[in-house]
Symmetry: D2
Subunit: 371 residues, 4 copies
Amino acid sequence: MSEAAIRIGVVGLGSVFYGPYMAMIERLATAGRARVTAVYDVDEGKRRAAGQRLGVDPGLTSPEAVLESDDVDVVLVLTSMPAHGSLASAALRAGKHVLVEKPMATSLEEAAALMELAAASPGHLICAPHILLSPTFRAVSAHVENGDIGQLLLARARYGWSGPDWSRWFYERGGGALFDLGVYNVTSLCGLFGPARRVTAMAGVAIPERVVEGETVRVQAEDNAHVLIDFGDARFASVTTGFTMQKYRSPAIELYGSGGVLQMLGDDWAPEGYELWRNSAGSWELFPESDPGWQWTEGLRHLVDCIETGREPVTRPEHAYHALEIMLAAQAAAADGRAREIASDFPRADLAALADVTDGHRVHDPRSALI
Amino acid sequence: MSEAAIRIGVVGLGSVFYGPYMAMIERLATAGRARVTAVYDVDEGKRRAAGQRLGVDPGLTSPEAVLESDDVDVVLVLTSMPAHGSLASAALRAGKHVLVEKPMATSLEEAAALMELAAASPGHLICAPHILLSPTFRAVSAHVENGDIGQLLLARARYGWSGPDWSRWFYERGGGALFDLGVYNVTSLCGLFGPARRVTAMAGVAIPERVVEGETVRVQAEDNAHVLIDFGDARFASVTTGFTMQKYRSPAIELYGSGGVLQMLGDDWAPEGYELWRNSAGSWELFPESDPGWQWTEGLRHLVDCIETGREPVTRPEHAYHALEIMLAAQAAAADGRAREIASDFPRADLAALADVTDGHRVHDPRSALI
Amino acid sequence: MSEAAIRIGVVGLGSVFYGPYMAMIERLATAGRARVTAVYDVDEGKRRAAGQRLGVDPGLTSPEAVLESDDVDVVLVLTSMPAHGSLASAALRAGKHVLVEKPMATSLEEAAALMELAAASPGHLICAPHILLSPTFRAVSAHVENGDIGQLLLARARYGWSGPDWSRWFYERGGGALFDLGVYNVTSLCGLFGPARRVTAMAGVAIPERVVEGETVRVQAEDNAHVLIDFGDARFASVTTGFTMQKYRSPAIELYGSGGVLQMLGDDWAPEGYELWRNSAGSWELFPESDPGWQWTEGLRHLVDCIETGREPVTRPEHAYHALEIMLAAQAAAADGRAREIASDFPRADLAALADVTDGHRVHDPRSALI
Amino acid sequence: MSEAAIRIGVVGLGSVFYGPYMAMIERLATAGRARVTAVYDVDEGKRRAAGQRLGVDPGLTSPEAVLESDDVDVVLVLTSMPAHGSLASAALRAGKHVLVEKPMATSLEEAAALMELAAASPGHLICAPHILLSPTFRAVSAHVENGDIGQLLLARARYGWSGPDWSRWFYERGGGALFDLGVYNVTSLCGLFGPARRVTAMAGVAIPERVVEGETVRVQAEDNAHVLIDFGDARFASVTTGFTMQKYRSPAIELYGSGGVLQMLGDDWAPEGYELWRNSAGSWELFPESDPGWQWTEGLRHLVDCIETGREPVTRPEHAYHALEIMLAAQAAAADGRAREIASDFPRADLAALADVTDGHRVHDPRSALI
């Protein structure tokens, strides 16, 4: 391991750390670019297990011990949602670079404060989800930018599944399908349309009771929702999400333009290529997934890239803030039936700066390539 | 032609008459079951052409001359929308059976009066669209009724295209994508979920100018819309429609249940089979279209069946009224951002009464069979 | 009906006449371009029925009475296979234009004689199948000609189904899957690759007994076969056919070139569009079927076109002869396990002469358009 | 690492070792079940690299030093093809368990001797490919065994790509598409139909020159082929293979039975689920891939399982021998146009002994699960 490797401190050692972020860290570690130097979790057993597995001190007994460690360059905030905002703020204040899982905070006030702090701090702030970084999203975005489907007028997006059976908080107040699932579609759609102007929604609890880790749970956060987003000039998108979708066979995102249609397949966080209809071509062009092993923890690699090269991250906290405002507005609109205006704005990500190339017919054994 | 053949009077001889209804009438005529005995259109040229083609008197100079003719059993109301309600009413008052194209009327008041009249009159009233009658819709509906996907919780539906270039009224006040296109999805979804309780929507004019019959037209009715429908118990559906969808590659209707998913392919009025996921089976079951030549004018055949057999039509004016209330509510909600309650109700259609059988692997040359 | 309408005499009034050819004749008749003036079938009942339906004399008691009638310009030979060659010859000798269903003859000698006669006679000879004429085949062929997939190297084709239950001859000596079904793939592949050089095959009876029209039949002609065709320069194609294929979900024809892949969907005689992969594009381009109502009896319209315009037919008897040689060689190779050389040649059809245009996103209601 | 871990010696450290087998070994090592204890390659650089990476002695200077090491339980034979037979034999003689990559030998004589030796030796002999072990193949095989598609009558299989640009031997005598690619389809088809009786083929060099590692190579082994296999009772299969297939969008294997159709998607060695048509159901049932990360080196895990449990391997050398006989017969038939009888037989693998369960709608993040 190079001495120059970027030192990562992890706060929160649950299932989001193992395996998704862990897998990404292992790749970076194999390349000598990063290593874990400090870990913390409220659960002592998890601290000890991570210490043994990663060869680090299992004895840190507070998140601050990680955030403030001299041996840490980057802090990963992977705790439960309510702690995201305060931990990310503390890490920025300690001069660290920060990657925070979604949502960046649970209130707009806290999120706004976090963004101000990021602007004033030396460290970068990267907010999940990192889905704008996938090669497939970038290709889709480039088609939209190039006008390949004309002007973007209408869209549908969906992401859902039958729901987790492993953690109560998904179904408790503060959890819910919008924050856990809907955030992906909302983030993608804003990445493609630009800032939203207005939101309305229907959302509720369709399955009142669930079994989680063997116990029956009374569901208190929405598990079933449609959100409508107005992007101005009569351009609209819908987001369908829920722990009520057993399976699907439909595009993740459908983009209807004045001269064509563009569809992203798979899920925002696990794209399976895309399909392009252009009236001028008169055919559907199916682009196979160029990177079948792409991981949704890519934001960490991007952060490491930026630290190494001194460049600014292309994904911005303002985008995450905007998505948060939309989701809170959707919940409010679902409660009283009234559409809400959206106040915030965000700069468009310069995804072209990340461009790379693939050659579809030469991909031969992606499964082995994953290893 | 049998003397017993049912005598049809047609009011409105435009593109909806030629070829869709005409094709259905020709089939019925070949079987000796129906014949056209009277026609009227405001356009004298169309009257004369139809008279020559159908061998009937081209000299009737008012719709009343058709509605009140002693030589007419069934009146087809295929005029422009604003005249639907009054012509259908007049025909019922004259003791005729009536088939009226969508919408049955352009205001709820007029529609309610029409339904009252139908209840008190000897003639049947059949309101388009007739999509509940397709073998595919009936199969989908039967799966839902049987609980094959558990409880129906969430749905998406879509129907749109790039829009007609042949008649200004589609883009004028009183036209619009909801009445022309959205009505199909709304009708189907209510057929599957039952009566709606609440509606909200976003709708507007995304393409302000169009070329219609060579002339530039200023668009005044919505050409781009999402509608959300609340069916109670936190069960929601979305309808996406517009003259803004160049092409699609997605299911017409997606039905998400607590134990599976059901997707109707093609369009409500031109189904292409359906797909069923059941958690208990762990597979997608793809049912090919059982009747690739099914015509959306099937309501006429159903009306003829009912007259011949003395049975009541299975599709009901109350359903069309309910769809109308939803679309008017959607337009109102789109205008001010407030969800609307839906007051009306309708009885579920007894589609099982229409059941028949197909054997998929024996279908060999459907194109020749169409003839 | 115009007096100038081309006069058609039909020999053989079975299921191939009703409805496929009949449907085509009705379209031509509606356009005033053709009409049936004479009919013959060995079955007197069929003669009488056709006479009544078509308004022609049901009293002709020999095929010659049709072939030699002064009131006939074109003879359709739609009888059982063994009679094809002699009837087509007689009609040519009588100075008529001839359309003969597949196969043009049942021996190479008879077929060769027929071709010589055609060359020396004033009438055109059009041999089924007419599949090169479909817009989709022509588009596929144009891509190959343009080099869009580089050099054509390898192909697979398939056509089969569970088999007819309506006529014993399919399962008797002289029938079989190759002549009834395989002929389509063979014709298409030669249309794309050019003349074949060598053939081998495996073929046999996989289902020894069938029920046909309620009676158990002992199967004597192959119902299960693979044919391999060598087109020279190590370029090979396979044809898979049988009354042993209950259903499929695979392309009709797969064409592998040095720079891409081209796939025709549906069946040769009922195309459902095509798919194009070009390495240079890195995407699958899906072209929807441009003419969903295209009928495999198109050869008749083409013959009428040629008579009206004085042009030569683009499809040639030499091509049908070549396909016949291949099928007979395949049967011989299947019998003794030895590959056979193919001696005949044929000129490439000038399909570009037939070009026309479609605009995929404007197709809206093809089912009604079919009528 | 447990002391009980099975000790693996690797002969041949090329691209087949890194990453596919290496990835499998890492999984086994993480579970404490196996570890590499000896390595050899003719290339000293590769020996040294492997020694460093795996922490083993890089100083072994002959394959025998691995085969005969007291510190080795299992020998992986991953060298170039011509050495497979002799190295596998030597390892068996030394009392080791052996996994040998395809082909087990390059002549039937050598292969027969190897099998005799295996029968007489204490060690297991596992021959690649290991594709019968994939959950998807096993599910497909179980459907066939259960008669879900009736009697299996006809099949097509395909596997090809644009070809490697990294090693000359693929294109030299002894290489070729049949041994490198065709072997998978042949192995699968025999696994489903049982022993073959007869073979014919067309094969040749369609692309005479290639660029490999920057140099132009004259191709001497077939790069383009169709093979026909007769399984008796007029049941036939075709195999299409080549370095001439740029891409595909078709099933890997199509199985046509008297009552249905079964299609395996993806490739034999990287399945993507399967599709089942049963006439009795009247639908296509699509089974998503149950194990998207399944690796084609599974044979190694199976061997470790067998050593640990004392059970016999379910995949048998006789099957690999039979596939070898078929491929040699295909090459002979391609050369002179005469079908060849197949003499060998093999016992059916008892795949049911490996059964396990998946629950499709619960698979949520397979990419992270891969890690």
